[in-house]
Amino acid sequence: MSALPPRREPPDDADEQYRRASEHDPSRPSEATRRAVLSHAARLAAERARRRAHRPWLSFVGVTSGWRPALIGTVTAAVLAGVVIAPQFLVRRAPDESQLVPAPGAAAPAPAPAQAVASVAAQRAPEARTAPAASSESARPAPPPAILERPRLSATANRPAVRESVPPEAAPAAPAATGAPASSASDAMTTLQLEERAGANAARVMAPAAAKARSRAALSPPSPARAAPDALLQAAQDGNVTALATLLERGSEVDARDAEGRTALMQAILHRQAQAVAILLDHGADPNAADAHGTTPLEAAVAGDQREIIAALRRYGAR
């Protein structure tokens, strides 16, 4: 489809006849249809406005505008670089204990964006591969623990942002493409090794902060954002429409997935909960969100011969 202005055809008398006759045709959509459309649109608008209020950074970074592809690309590249390149770089340095202990009194370098860390790692990795024998203190500076930790933090910190900004149909493929779980595991191993081998100074510095974080996590109740997906999936399975509506109105992520990659909509379909399906679709659930096996909601409904659900899914654009 072209963005160019349409080329106008010369006026035709058949067109004129059509337009004249059209003026006399009083046929209009019914008031009920108009009301249904406008109220549905208003509900979705309110939901979007509320979502933006909860996550103001969405509008700040222009996620809904044409910036989204560029943003997704940048974040994905940074995450990929962080989780793929940086761990290799770190593992090579791990055995060298003397380089892990920061010099007494040395301040940790200022935090840098993930991209910067990744690009530094990318620049250094070839050096390490091509000239391992020539390594010296100047060629291989000892990275302080703060830097060693950073790729893991940046990877996990960026992951939710990617999930939010990737279109629903692309979302299931994202974790597999980035290889995030495996990298996180290797990052964790590296960190453990480093913590074991690091000197007493580093342990003393880290311990209070870690203990504080653990106690904070133990004392604070689970945040609604974390607890809601499970509750939503459960409510969808049970067909508990009151709970579903409440959770969705409180901002629960409508397309949150379980371990099998199933959304609440899919759970409702598998448990033959037609009312739950209707509520979820009405709240903007993606009717084409396939699970980890590639089964779409429509396929699941057809397999279960659930005609009411099939009709509802089709109304909302399921393919």
Partner: protein, 190 residues
């Protein structure tokens, strides 16, 4: 096609950001055109009502995905056409575009019975509207679809070709045949 005021593209962008009024403005601007496209293609008021809801629900749902690389009307009528084809496929073999009935006659009879209009004006209006429906019903579906897309969607031949996934020349000849046939048919009824 736009009335004075913000462009369609601006309005859909504002709606995507949570402004419900923008959608209302957009709906009012295009309601009749989409309705005529659907109803005149499927020939059934009930089917057109169902489609109308589906089309605008889809617009509301996918507003955030709209990118102004094409005009809003091109996007809108693409959705309308796809939904219409989905309906035809879902109801096959009971329903086809031609077999949907073109029940317009009875509808027009009822709708044009406006007691405020004079008897002659009412009869004339009814006759013209009926003639148009009959003429459209007698066009081959592809020609009718292309013609309605262009007239109601205010789309160029290129845009109709893109929406119907046909070549420029094919669409051009469909439009030419449709116009020739309509001229004849509307002449007959005149």
């Amino acid at each position: 096609m736009n009335d004075a005021g913000p462009s369609d593209e601006t309005l859909i962008g504002r709606y995507a950001g949570g402004d419900a009024e923008a959608f209302t403005a957009l709906y009012r601007r295009h309601e009749l055109r989409v309705w005529r496209y659907l109803e005149r293609n499927v020939g059934s008021r009930a089917a057109a009502e169902e489609l109308m809801q589906e089309v605008w629900f889809a617009v509301a749902r996918d507003a955030e995905r709209y990118r102004p690389t094409a005009r809003f009307t091109t996007w809108l009528f693409t959705i309308a056409r796809n939904r219409m084809l989905d309906l035809v496929r879902a109801r096959r073999p009971q329903v086809s575009l031609d077999a949907l009935g073109h029940e317009g006659g009875a509808v027009i009879e009822r709708l044009t019975a406006d007691p405020r209009a004079g008897p002659f004006a009412a009869v004339e209006a009814r006759e013209q509207a009926l003639a148009l429906r009959r003429a459209l019903a007698r066009l081959p579906p592809e020609q009718r679809d292309a013609f309605l897309l262009q007239l109601e969607g205010d789309l160029s031949v290129e845009e109709v070709a893109a929406i119907t996934r046909s070549s420029f020349e094919t669409v051009k000849s469909r439009l030419r045949y449709a116009r020739t046939r309509l001229r004849e048919l509307l002449g007959e009824y005149a």
